[in-house]
């Protein structure tokens, strides 16, 4: 849609709504003037009323003509929104393309980075953070920060439980021989086959600890420990 059509529509729509508004304002002011003297009305209202009757105001940019109390929201152009959309599609194609290139572990990092760029575009432009009250950005940043804390602490916990003592399958500290806090059963156990048999995964509780210490390398090997550490049974 060209900008000219835009303007045309805009002015006709405005005239309609302004007619309604001024009607309303007239009836209001009749009532009010009986009750309170004109001088008590704040300037903002007077200014707003003046603008209401001025049908030619502000047809070339998006600022609102009303008083300082009015909402001042940035109005983006079609061009800008269209450009952001095209960029989002570009990054979608990119992420699909990159996924078919073998980069090993970097694949995940690349996918997350591309997704984050897309998310940043959506937040900045579609969600108006660029021109918004900065406090809203702060809320988003705070949420993302705490998601980071959530990930960091959980992954730290999960990743280092196993590393405490690979020899003993992480059931004790190497130096003291004490039971490690949060010591656990590694959920990775070879099963006979996939499918409904998975239901039978519940482990024979009393024996597993003993089994695990008897075969110390079984768990750590699966978690990506050096392959040469010990062959599985």
């Amino acid at each position: 849609m060209s900008e000219k059509d835009d303007e045309k529509e805009k002015s006709s729509a405005e005239e309609e709504s302004e007619e309604e508004e001024s009607e309303k304002d007239d009836s209001e002011s009749e009532e009010e003037s009986e009750k309170e003297p004109e001088s008590e009305k704040p300037k903002a209202k007077a200014a707003a009323k003046k603008d209401d009757h001025d049908h030619d105001h502000d047809h070339d940019h998006g600022d609102l003509p009303y008083g300082a109390d009015e909402v001042h929201a940035h109005i983006g152009s079609y061009k800008a929104y269209g450009a952001v959309f095209m960029a989002l599609i570009f990054f979608t194609v990119l992420t699909v393309g990159v996924a078919s290139i073998h980069l090993g572990k970097a694949n995940l990092a690349v996918a997350v980075i591309i997704a984050s760029v897309k998310a940043a575009l959506v937040c900045t432009f579609f969600m108006h953070l660029k021109d918004d009250n900065k406090f809203n950005s702060l809320i988003l940043i705070a949420a993302v920060t705490f998601i980071g804390v959530f990930f960091a602490l959980t992954i730290n916990d999960v990743a280092y439980r196993e590393k405490l003592d690979p020899q003993s399958g992480n059931r004790m500290f190497l130096q003291s021989g004490d039971k490690a806090p949060g010591s656990w059963e590694n959920p990775i156990k070879k099963e006979e086959g996939p499918g409904a048999e998975n239901k039978g995964e519940t482990k024979p509780a009393p024996t597993t600890t003993a089994t695990a210490s008897a075969q110390p390398t079984r768990d750590s090997e699966k978690l990506g420990a050096p392959a040469g550490s010990a062959p599985p049974k």
Partner: protein, 261 residues
């Protein structure tokens, strides 16, 4: 309009009687506890952002679960990912991105006071949401048919609507045998994450329909478009979550010519 005007008048009288602390315009859309439209607008936005922050934290629990299980069961996640229809996923990504664009444009139109244009953009947004759900339905249907189901349901093909087991199909069974252990964990997360996201899409449709109705009723103007703005913010969040779900679920170590299966 006369009824609305009368209503606005009532408001003003009420304030006068309460000692006249509120001066000036109190249009019907300006709630009495706000001094100015700007104050009301800012408060509404901050409230919505607080909610969106909560939504992100809420979803992040699933993403953390995903991270842990993917570290443990990397092979199963790759195999599970290859069972998903990448084309449908990519198409749905584009549909959702486009709906985010139309949502942003509906806000723009209502900021300019263009009622009919706002209507068109909202309708397009709703249409995209339905397309997304229809594609999702077909994807889920295929997964049910192949027994690619969450947790203990994994391995038994089921009818999607009645959830009753389908007659055994040797091809499907053979295919399932080829999948590594713990693929059911991937499908648990797949269904919970996309399902929760789909619930957000459905709620979004409901809110958009309500906003559409209010727009047609003429509630919004250049001076008051907050509900459209806020609804669009919610819709962008739905898009935001999908932006992460798509590569994490559909594109794990993707091998173009079926090196795995």
């Amino acid at each position: 309009m006369t009824e609305a005007a009368a209503h606005a008048d009532d408001h003003d009288h009420a304030h006068d009687e309460h000692g006249g602390e509120h001066h000036g315009d109190h249009p019907k859309w300006l709630q009495h506890h706000w001094d100015t439209p700007a104050q009301q607008f800012d408060a509404a936005k901050i409230g919505m952002w607080a909610f969106l922050g909560q939504e992100l934290l809420f979803f992040s629990g699933l993403f953390v679960a995903y991270a842990i299980y993917r570290t443990w069961f990397g092979e199963a996640f790759a195999a599970g990912s290859h069972q998903l229809d990448r084309t449908m996923g990519a198409a749905n990504t584009c549909v959702l991105l486009f709906s985010s664009l139309t949502a942003a444009l509906s806000v723009r139109a209502s900021q300019l006071g263009k009622k009919s244009e706002t209507t068109i953009w909202i309708l397009l947004t709703i249409a995209c949401a339905f397309i997304f759900l229809i594609v999702k339905y077909f994807e889920y249907h295929a997964k049910f048919d192949h027994g690619l189901l969450p947790g203990s349901f994994f391995g038994t093909p089921r009818d999607m609507l009645s959830f009753s087991p389908l007659p055994p199909d040797p091809k499907v069974a053979e295919h399932l045998q080829e999948l590594p252990d713990h693929t059911h964990v991937f499908f648990s997360l797949y269904f919970v994450m996309t399902g929760l996201h789909a619930i957000h899409v459905i709620i979004g449709i409901g809110v958009w329909v309500w906003i559409l109705k209010r727009n047609l009723r003429g509630d919004f103007s250049k001076r008051y478009f907050t509900p459209v703005d806020i609804t669009a913010l919610y819709w962008h969040l739905v898009d935001l979550v999908w932006i992460y779900l798509f590569p994490l679920l559909y594109l794990i170590d993707y091998v173009p010519h079926g090196g795995h299966h």
